[in-house]
Subunit: 334 residues, 2 copies
DNA sequence: TTTATTTACGAAACCGGTTTCGCATTAATT
DNA sequence: AATTAATGCGAAACCGGTTTCGTAAATAAA
């Protein structure tokens, strides 16, 4: 049995409401009484029940982060950014992993409608089924903010990077370095950010007078080894691919593996650039040129929007924040 | 206003308790009534309030993970392991980052006593202040389980790896590969796992007839660049260090940086082995020999213990699970 | 037929806070 | 001195569920 305000009230022979008001430092209560209550509460090591009050005022001081996975530098840094703001505001963070499953994402969002949290920050899964209706439904009942992997159809706040431009620049970079046969690889799924990146890639090809075909975009799998095999096949084909834009961090590893396996030298035979936030990119063999997203700042921005919304200071529907990515040139594209 | 059982009761002209029982499929309620209630609930898209019931039965179906950081492969994999079990059991996961600060850890644990969660999984911070009394206090009120970074003084369940043995083997490995001047580097903090690893290191030196001095163990900093400088100084000194055991993943990066900077060839001049779960260790220049901890399995084990405890099936005080680490030999120690 | 038991449901307490409102007592105003 | 306002506190409702207990009607046993 933990200590409650009723016990304090009983022991001090005062009303429950008096204790409650005293603890919240209400002006209705005399300094004398407050002192007594605070003193006794401290003595009993009173910790208020986190959810008792949440029934009445509908505030849990919990927020949810819904994302595909945590073992990815972008996401873990984003969590860090969100957490830094949440901790400062005295909020608690719940983490939900979808593992790219739409079904899971759907059931998670469904559950979140039960008032377990005050708001949701989400980076949508890359599964097949579309569940934007669920997103919209949740957003109608509580603040919901997209970060990075957004859902265009849902009318709420979004925090993202300049995917189109940065992918365009990344592709330009490869071509300027002399690549003739560039490919764009992505994992399965129908993600807006990947589409944007692919569009940027295509724009670059167009501008360099390259005729774009389906062969230029390679669709990998969610499974690492499958992706590896697909990449190996493409690289070892007689197309003589000499440039790869990896739209996601995970695939960069498989490209490296494939190049090692096929005895293709990076950057001499194949140049590689990847969207990645890996800190150790500089220590790879060879150091990997990356498009680094401002993951921490995006997390901060998304969380800040959420708390402003909770304080009724803004209308989420009007918010859209775009932060720039940074191209870090290294030896893999030298 | 979300829909509540009271609204359902009112609309259906039956009692609140009837609705509650019907929804929980109680035998007290006729199939006929249950059907009506379920039907209407589905129609209104009823989602029960997550915390209303938690007041009465003291179950939130939330668990907390308290750990130093999330941008570390060990921790992110451990979270994955925990989450996999939690999701299966229908529990929700709250994540708390301490950033190695004891003060933060203390205030987090203090807050958790307010019944926000049903149990805690913790990997303690490496700060200076000792706060095992808080751990003990929390453990007295609710299930608390240590994983990896344990707190010996607190009498509750612990899930860890064979730190002593694996460090002993790692050091043996270096010496067998011909290293004469081996050092052990660790970050600041007073962690049991680091102490164990250091003891294993020292045992190996002893057994190989090496006289152990303070010089053999190098204390780095929490700050990356400070650590880098410290490591660089040691490696470039006239001691001719030719073997490094990194007790934490983060430091391996700094060792690589330092070797590159000082033009020390790995493994020819310096051999490096690190406690690390990095998947891309094999892609570093050169591939890094690692002691891999079973992070996912440890998370699973810890979560499983927690849920057994919540089901009153076990006494946490008697539980202690030790999982073996695996030495992955690569070129950095060739 | 009478009594015992089961079935199906309702009323109300309860969990631990917050908040509204009412009522003394004291202080200020006329 | 009489009226008004402010102060300090208590009783009780409330949030949205669960759970206990009581009871009327239907069924079974005596």
């Amino acid at each position: 049995m933990s200590v409650t305000i009723r016990k304090i009230a009983k022991d001090l022979k005062i009303a429950v409401s008096t204790v409650s008001k005293a603890l919240s430092d209400s002006h209705e209560i005399s300094e004398e009484t407050k002192r007594k209550v605070f003193e006794y509460a401290r003595q009993l090591d009173y910790v208020p029940n986190a959810y008792a009050g949440s029934l009445k005022n509908r505030k849990t001081r919990n927020i949810a982060i819904v994302l595909p996975e945590v073992a990815d530098t972008f996401f873990s840094n984003a969590i860090n950014g969100i957490d830094s703001i949440a901790q400062a505001k005295g909020y608690h963070v719940m983490v939900y992993l979808t593992h790219e499953s739409c079904e899971r994402e759907e059931s998670i969002l469904q559950e979140l409608r039960g008032g377990r949290v005050d708001g949701v920050l989400i980076s949508v899964s890359g599964g097949v089924k579309k569940n934007s209706h669920i997103h919209a439904q949740v957003a109608a009942e509580m603040p919901l903010i997209f970060f990075d992997r957004i859902c265009d159809e849902v009318d709420t706040a979004k925090v993202l990077t300049d995917d189109f431009e940065s992918s365009y620049k990344a592709t330009n970079h490869l071509i300027e370095k002399g690549c003739k046969e560039v490919i764009f690889i992505s994992a399965a799924g129908n993600l807006s950010i990947i589409n944007k990146r692919q569009e940027g890639f295509i724009k670059s090809l167009h501008e360099h007078g390259i005729e774009v075909s389906e062969q230029h975009t390679v669709l990998c799998s969610e499974n690492e080894n499958e992706s590896y095999e697909i990449i190996k096949n493409v690289l070892s084909s007689d197309r003589k691919v000499d440039g790869v834009v990896c739209s996601v961090e995970k695939l960069a590893m498989q490209v490296y593996r494939a190049c090692h396996e096929c005895k293709l030298s990076i950057p001499h035979q194949v140049k590689v650039i990847a969207f990645s936030n890996l800190q150790i990119a500089a220590l790879l063999a060879p150091p990997l040129t990356t498009v680094m997203q401002p993951a921490f700042a995006m997390g901060e921005a998304a969380a800040t929007l959420l708390f402003k919304s909770l304080a009724k200071k803004i209308d989420l529907k009007k918010e859209r924040i775009v932060l720039p990515s940074v191209l870090c040139e290294r030896e893999s594209t030298a």
